[in-house]
Amino acid sequence: MSTILSITDLRKSYAGGFEALKGVNLEIAEGEILALLGPNGAGKTTLISTICGITTATSGSVTVGGHCIEREYRAARAMIGLVPQEINLEPFETVMNSVRFSRGLFGKPRNDALIDDILKKLSLWDKRSSQIKELSGGMKRRVLIAKALSHEPRVLFLDEPTAGVDVELRKDMWDVVRELRESGVTIILTTHYIEEAEAMADRVGVIAGGEILLVEEKSDLMARMGKKELQVFLIDPVATVPEALDQHELRLGEDGHSLIYTYDVKAERTGITTLLNDVAAAGLVLSDVSTRQSSLEDIFVGLVSGEDA
């Protein structure tokens, strides 16, 4: 697939000397969903703001659909939709007028059918004549999304779209995002919720301290760095891991009722058979076994804290 967004050595320093972006390089393919994970202050919002024209870059270049965001800002910005993290809306205007305004601001001719369709999809249709100040927090967030979609962007930035929204709305939003992807829109979302990235993204980027630490296919990332845990539950608890099982480097579970074995999913031999044989030979009686795949969260925490997870 062709590249729709290209970021080269993007740097942003503030007047106080703080370096929010330290040379970010990133290529995003048309039609993909990229999740940017990172702790607070990692530079996620600064990166998005710089691409969208809200913040000026100190150096580096960004092109959207081949258009430079500075020299050809009109063509570049016309392709971008932004759903900001903060709920920033004119409180006294109606939902319908706010969304229409966004379309007009982006220079697109009036298209009532399209706006109606967006409002219906986002369950805002019944509220179209309400003033925004009358809406709940979740509804306001939908309005932000409707505004961003009103001008038919090719690239959509969702800056923590589900921060502080309930489970139902989160699932609704995921559906909307998937539908958008099917229509060919490229989506870059930042999130704190690892499950969100895990559920939706094609690729995952991890950003911390203004640098992209890695960008990888989600499945590759999980496979490469993912580890699995096998938990063996015992009928009679043990105080320590029996010496006969030392070679397996087990951890003792809670109350001594289980033994935990960590293994590499991709290893040729996982060592499970040997382990189970050794457990039986050590005279331990099993009540149950379970396995758990390490999640993106484990990988993420490992990366950001500097461990080789």
């Binding site: 969208c52 809200i54 009109r74 910005r77 971008i80 920033n88 004119e90 601001l105 220079g107 505004k147």
Partner: protein
Amino acid sequence: MNWTAVSAIYKFEMARFFRTLAQSFLSPVLSTSLYFVVFGAAIGSRIDQVEGVSYGAFIVPGLIMLSVITQGISNASFGIYFPKFIGTVYELLSAPVNFLEIVLGYVGAAATKALFIGVVILATAHLFVDITIAHPLAMLLFLVLTCISFALLGFIIGIWAKNFEQLQLVPLLIITPLIFLGGSFYSISMLPPIWQTITLFNPVVYLISGFRWSFFGVSDVPVGFSLLAIAVFTGLCLAVIGWIFRTGWRLRS
């Protein structure tokens, strides 16, 4: 030019005005009526004609200027300050629009509102005193130019202001005194000679004088100076706004 965007901003801003139409309409009518009761009836009855015009009629151009200038500033400064305050300015900054389009939308709407108020005051004044307009086209030109130029100034104030107090500061401390001392309610020929000279450094004198000339054919300063003054002022405001958008001052971090 992205005219669709200009029109979107303009309509969005005008909608704010229409939401509070009764307020927008009633407050100038009431304040003008009060001015006429106080200045026209109470004080005016003790003052003979000023430069051949009855005092009640003489103050009409000054009254209109007073409202149009303050309305132009407050509408435009609030119009751009409010999105900064509530955060919706992100959309403006990320839209495919240039500074001229943003200014046309915001300043156009603010100037329209000020013009509306000006016309309402003129109509209200007509109920109290007889007014004949000697040069109607020139009157309209002065009125429209004043609306636009002070809306431009208001736009600059709105971008500069970091809080609501600052938003009020310039109009309150600088503009209102300049208007009151600019001959709104008197001819500068009524001042002692030294003050007649000092008052010529007040740019508002030129505006009011020119505007009054368009009504009664009499002026404190030559009408050409008045037009020049307003043109220079408008150009200055445009230059400052151009610089603001080039540098992103107080808009883009």
